[in-house]
Amino acid sequence: MRETRLWSLHLLVIPIIVVLLGTHFAIIHYAPVFYGMSVEEARSFEVMIERGRSIAQFVLYILLLAAGLYHGLYGLRGIIRELPLTPALAKLVDVGIVLFGLFIFGFGTYVTWWTFSFKIGG
């Protein structure tokens, strides 16, 4: 059952990634269309912080981070484990990828929280 559950989750996060990543692309690359400001302006520090201070951005970024990391690292685990590995190495790959994913998720969440709680002017 375990592999079925892992794979089902890999599929379930796809719509989350498509919607949130698509929105992220739209905001960052098509700022003139959606925000009426140039791309350079949209990527400036001030505008970036202002965007990051909304609760919606905070929650959705963390959701995108979790979904993207799970989907990508499940795929990467599949690719690496398709190589001929000993059972010990296979276990190491599984554990290593989970730890790496948790680390990157933790780091990304910290950066998102830092942005959310940024005090303008110091």
Binding site: I14, V18, F45, G72, W114
Partner: protein
């Protein structure tokens, strides 16, 4: 095969087998493209999380980074990443549907010349690849036609 028999030659294709193993149809190359684009995207995602963390080093560090990413070589890489993401997403939609058994037809007695589920969902594959091509070209319009 007892242990006294002469040694067989291990004939496993190995990693080469992911790239080329025979004159197979193009779905096999869509599999390769999906794998390569996926690896590129996960590598980019991890790098992206690390580089956007530069915001914590202050305004100047952030602005320096944005200036670097606005330079031409980075714009090309950005576009290639966009193309990889669109291909991976569109092919992924095809895989999401077909790996759950949709658009593959119904099992029936095989009568020569045999049809296969891969051939039966070709029309869907063509539509999805055409859409992906369209989005990739349109998305690069600002790059090609500034």
């Amino acid at each position: 095969m007892n242990s006294n028999s002469p040694k067989s030659y291990p004939n496993r294709l190995g990693l080469k087998g992911w790239v080329y193993a025979g004159r197979y149809t193009f779905e096999r190359y869509l599999y390769l493209g999906h794998r390569l684009s996926g690896m590129g995207l996960i590598a980019y995602m991890v790098l992206h999380i690390i580089e956007t963390a530069n915001r914590m080093r202050g305004v100047e560090a952030w602005q320096g980074l944005m200036a670097l990413f606005a330079s031409p070589p980075f714009k090309v890489v950005e576009y290639l990443l966009f193309a990889a993401a669109v291909f991976h997403a569109m092919n992924g939609v095809r895989l999401l549907l077909t790996e759950l058994g949709f658009f593959l037809g119904k099992p029936k007695e095989p009568v020569y010349p045999y049809s296969s589920s891969v051939m039966r969902h070709r029309p869907l594959t063509y539509v999805i690849m055409a859409l992906a091509g369209l989005i990739i070209i349109l998305g690069g319009s600002s790059l090609f036609f500034p």
